[in-house]
């Protein structure tokens, strides 16, 4: 077997079937296999894979979005409840505070009344005490004065009784106002 390169311009006829047919059959088969293995299968597989990936991602994003929407709705519901609850609590405590304030004021008023009363009583007592002391001093002064006037040593005990009686009579009429 040898290969003979022909440099002359020998040609096949324009319309004839020859060995070229067999060569071209084999060439077509080879080209088909090459394009299938190296071009169509890898590229189609790659694009399919990418398409699937993107589809998955979009699905995942949709799922996530759905979840988020659900959560949002839940939270909104909760928030509305919380708002109502808060109002309720405020109302309750306002009411309680009002009651409390009312009670405090009432207690304070009662206490003030008691204190006033006590103060009155104290005052009264002090006054009575003062008056009694005054009575005693007046009687002594009177005796002193009387003994100076009379220049005579009276029986102190008798006179004191007498004067006290007088003063108490006078005092009673005065104190009755």
């Amino acid at each position: 077997m040898s290969i003979d390169m022909v440099t002359s311009s020998l040609r096949f006829g324009l319309v004839e079937l020859n060995w070229t047919f067999v060569f071209q059959l084999i060439n077509t088969l080879i080209l088909f296999l090459i394009l299938k293995k190296f071009l169509f299968v890898p590229v189609t597989t790659f694009m399919k894979k990418r398409e699937d990936e993107i589809k998955d991602q979009i699905q995942a994003a949709k799922d996530l979005d759905e979840d988020a929407q659900k959560l949002k709705a839940q939270y909104e519901l909760k928030l509305t409840h919380a708002d109502e609850e808060g109002k309720e609590i405020i109302k309750k405590y306002t009411h309680r505070a009002e009651n409390r304030a009312f009670e405090i004021v009432k207690t304070a008023e009662a206490e003030v009344d008691t204190m006033k009363l006590n103060a009155h009583r104290e005052l009264e007592r002090e006054r009575v005490k003062a008056v009694n002391e005054l009575k005693g001093q007046i009687s002594e002064l009177t005796i002193l004065a009387a003994s100076k006037v009379v220049e005579k040593d009276l029986n102190e005990a008798d006179h004191k009784e007498l004067i006290n009686k007088f003063i108490s009579e006078v005092g009673e009429t005065q104190w009755q106002n």
Binding site: M1, S2, I3, D4, M5, V6, S8, S9, L10, R11, F12, G13, L14, V15, E16, L17, N18, W19, T20, F21, F23, Q24, L25, N27, T28, I30, L31, F32, I34, L35, K36, F38, L39, F40, V41, P42, V43, T44, F46, M47, R50, E53
Partner: protein, 239 residues
């Protein structure tokens, strides 16, 4: 075989092969090898390191493959998707063959051997998948439709398909080759007779318009027609 005419040149001859003797190899075959080589290199380079975000060559190759895939799906149905590599082979091989005349090569499709090889392949696939999907009985019955006496006509019609398919492509491309070489010859002698110049000035620019028509337009159109008809025949036989 001779040294005249528009037939493909014989590039080399395999001599003294056992049983068959000498086999002359024409430029049709060598140009086809070149096309195969270019497509092989392109396929390997373009599908190397494919990224999720396509750009550059990957974008081109993805676009090409999806165009062929979609063409196959549209013409043969979603389930005959696996025919895409075959459709692509026909489309690329015939398309590149038809426009390779622009680079000064003789188009392989300007050889009846190539076109008949492709159309007979289509014919065989059509018959094979017709029988496979309908069964031999169902397939045979198709030849008796609509009337039994039309059987000879149906057979002739079926056999005419590969012949018309092969000769249409061959005729278009060969006509282009012949017209273009006649045009070059005419432009050369026109320069010679008008100015007496040995340099064929008119061959500059003027043939470009004809190249656009015969190589680009007719060439791409014929490759598309061949591919479309192949898809129609095969899917028609399978239905």
């Amino acid at each position: 075989m001779g040294s005249e005419g528009f037939g493909p040149r014989i590039v080399f001859t395999l001599r003294d092969l056992p049983f068959v003797g000498d086999i002359p190899v024409s430029e049709t075959v060598t140009v086809t090898w070149m096309i195969i080589f270019v497509l092989l290199v392109f396929s390997i380079v373009a599908t190397r390191n494919m990224k999720r975000e396509a750009k550059g060559l990957q974008l081109v190759v993805e676009q090409i493959v999806s165009v062929v895939n979609n063409l196959t799906k549209q013409n043969m149905g979603e389930r005959n998707y696996m025919w895409a590599p075959f459709v692509g082979t026909l489309l690329f091989f015939i398309g590149i063959s038809n426009i390779i005349g622009l680079l000064g090569f003789r188009p392989p499709t300007g050889d009846l051997n190539t076109t008949m090889c492709l159309s007979i392949t289509t014919f065989v696939l059509t018959q094979f998948f017709g029988v496979k999907s309908k069964g031999l009985g169902g397939y045979g019955k198709g030849f008796l439709q609509p009337m039994p006496f039309l059987l000879p006509l149906n057979i002739i019609g079926e056999l005419a398909n590969p012949v018309s398919l092969g000769f249409r492509l061959f005729g278009n491309i060969t006509a282009g080759i012949i017209i273009m070489s006649l045009l070059y010859g005419a432009l050369g002698s026109l320069t010679d007779s008008l100015f007496g110049l040995a340099v064929p000035l008119f061959q500059v620019g003027v043939p470009a318009v004809f190249h656009i028509y015969f190589d680009m337009f007719a060439g791409l159109l014929q490759s598309f027609i061949f591919t479309m008809l192949t898809m129609v025949f095969i899917s028609g036989a399978m239905e």
